[in-house]
């Protein structure tokens, strides 16, 4: 059961080996992985939309889509069909090439990241030894896609949204990468498989002080990276219509949507991988553990969306530069302290408490330093 998908793939490769020369087997192996991911991505996206609508609806004390299929399970298919047959509009003064290229350039990195996600034991499509770096690098390409979409649409709201989005993404990328560094220090490898394997026997990093903090920072930055609420300034409909994808409709719009949901999934999956032990877990198959943890995090994202108001631009930037970045830097130091105090054991009281104290103190200090300016209570002498 645990190795179900691995066995299927091995069977397919073995089948091709019997018929074709050996080099075709390699290609088949690659193709199987690609096809699996290429199918998995849209599938995840489709049902994420349904889950989001359902969850948010429940949180808002309503039911959500329930007309198409049992419990509305076919709703995503209906939406997909609607998107496909919608008119494809290109604004007259748009930079047409960029306008058409942008959705693809945004989806491609989102899909590429799936390659390094360890869905289960032996279920990493490409076990790169620079996996985490790959993740960071590929997800940063998305900014250029957003630029292209914003600029190609020739719409001032698009440009505004694009500028906002890019400013936000390059700002949050830094604390995000910094919050990964402690994990790399602890594991000593950039490979995602190695990271997950280092968290065996319940040694999930989230149970350490630095791991917990890193997890929170990474997840928050991830939410900001994929422009989700409460960091969705780039597409704040009350301010700039829909931001960089204002001018998009039909399937191109669906691609943006797909990229966003796939990013949400990959961020959750990466958080799971880095801090929540990945596919590690008892009894259940490893891939099921991965999906359970990932969807748990996705649920938190939906929860954010349903409950938190949108941030202001300055608050957004202040959070990244004045709070998360310093805290993630302190976190690296805390990890080093933990590393030397713990002496190869996962949990010792000293190794637990000293970094904890450091982090709590830093947290408190940063909160103090970031205390927003509160104006004096104004007195209106002429009123009374």
């Amino acid at each position: 059961m645990d190795q179900m998908f691995v066995n299927i793939k091995a069977a397919l490769v073995g089948l091709s080996d019997k018929v074709f020369p050996d080099w075709v087997g390699v290609l088949v192996s690659i193709a199987v992985s690609i096809v699996a991911i290429a199918l998995l991505g849209p599938l995840i996206m489709m049902y994420l939309t349904l889950i989001e609508r359902k969850v948010v609806a429940r949180m808002q004390n309503r039911i959500g889509p329930n007309r198409v299929g049992k419990y509305g399970l076919l709703q995503p298919l209906a939406d997909g069909v609607k998107m496909l047959i919608k008119e494809d509009i290109v604004p007259r003064n748009a930079d047409k090439v960029l306008h058409l290229l942008a959705p693809i350039l945004i989806v491609a990195p989102a899909l590429l990241v799936f390659a390094v996600l360890p869905f289960g034991r032996n279920m990493t499509a490409v076990d790169l030894n620079v996996g985490i770096l790959f993740f960071a690098a590929i997800s940063s390409i998305g900014t250029i896609g957003i630029f292209m979409a914003a600029w190609g649409s020739n719409n001032k709201f698009s440009v505004l949204g694009g500028m906002r989005s890019v400013a936000q993404m390059i700002s949050y990328e830094i604390p995000m990468v910094m919050s990964v560094v402690p994990v790399l220090l602890a594991v000593g490898s950039l490979s995602t498989n190695a990271i997950v394997e280092a968290q065996a026997d319940w040694h999930w990093f989230v149970f350490t002080p630095w791991g917990f903090l890193g997890c929170v920072i990474f997840f928050l930055c991830g939410v900001a990276e994929c422009n989700r609420s409460p960091f969705d300034l780039a597409e704040a409909e009350s301010e700039i219509i829909a931001g960089f994808h204002t001018e998009y409709s039909g399937m191109k719009f669906a691609l943006f949507y797909m990229a966003e949901f796939m990013s949400a999934f990959t961020i959750s999956g990466m958080t799971t991988t880095l801090f929540l032990g990945g596919w590690q877990g008892p009894l259940l198959p490893s891939w099921l553990w991965f999906f359970l943890k990932t969807y748990g995090l996705i649920f938190i994202m939906l929860w954010f969306r349903a409950t938190l108001p949108r941030l202001r631009v300055d608050q957004l930037m202040a959070l990244a530069w004045k709070f998360l970045l310093p805290l993630s830097l302190v976190n690296i130091v805390a990890t080093c302290i933990w590393h030397f105090l713990s002496d190869e054991a996962f949990f010792t009281p000293a190794a637990f408490l000293v970094p904890l104290a450091l982090l709590v103190f830093s947290y408190w200090g940063l909160m103090k330093l970031n205390q927003p300016y509160m104006p004096e209570k104004r007195v209106y002498p002429l009123v009374d």
Partner: protein, 173 residues
């Protein structure tokens, strides 16, 4: 597996070709935004070439820093400095012909020189390439190359401050 090797060779040559085409675009495209995107494409192809020669880490750094960082900065600046759609503004100055002659001469002279030189150190591709792990890179960065590394750190710090100071809007006094 020579067939696979052929495929990869084809891929690499293809990347090179695309890279050169994109580079020409980056230099000549009148629209700066397009030029920037072309440059981004060139950088990605170069990252691919890096990975094809076994420098995976460098390839990733190339994408992360160049495509994700420098290119974003450049495109951002293009947007900030305006005149985006001003296509009637000449992109090139008047010395293009001289520059082309000089560069052409340069290529036509060095290129044959490279091809003529037969004594390049060759290492067989299948004979245990000294693949460098990230750990090796990190270790040498902290030992052999620690001085340039530190100097680079200072430089980046100075750049950080300098860029802020230069680009900062003057406070209205």
């Amino acid at each position: 597996m020579p067939q696979l090797e052929f495929l990869i060779k084809c891929g690499v040559y293809g990347l090179m070709g695309l890279g050169i085409i994109a580079a020409v675009g980056a230099v000549l495209l009148p629209n700066l935004f397009h030029a920037g995107l072309a440059l981004a494409f060139v950088l990605v192809t170069i990252a691919g070439i890096f990975m094809s020669v076994g420098a995976e880490f460098l390839g990733m750094v190339q994408i992360l820093l160049y495509v994700g960082g420098v290119m974003t900065l450049i495109i951002y600046t293009i947007m900030l400095t305006g005149r985006l759609g001003a296509k009637d503004v000449r992109a090139q100055n008047r010395q293009g012909i001289f520059a082309a002659i000089a560069a052409g001469f340069f290529v036509c002279w060095i290129g044959p020189l490279i091809l003529k030189t037969g004594a390049w150190p060759q290492r067989e591709s299948d004979s245990a390439p000294p693949l460098l792990s990230v750990e090796d890179l990190g270790m040498s960065l902290m030992t052999e190359y620690v001085f340039p590394f530190e100097v680079l750190g200072v430089l980046l710090f100075a750049v950080l401050i300098g860029a802020i100071v230069i680009a900062r809007q003057d406070r209205p006094s």
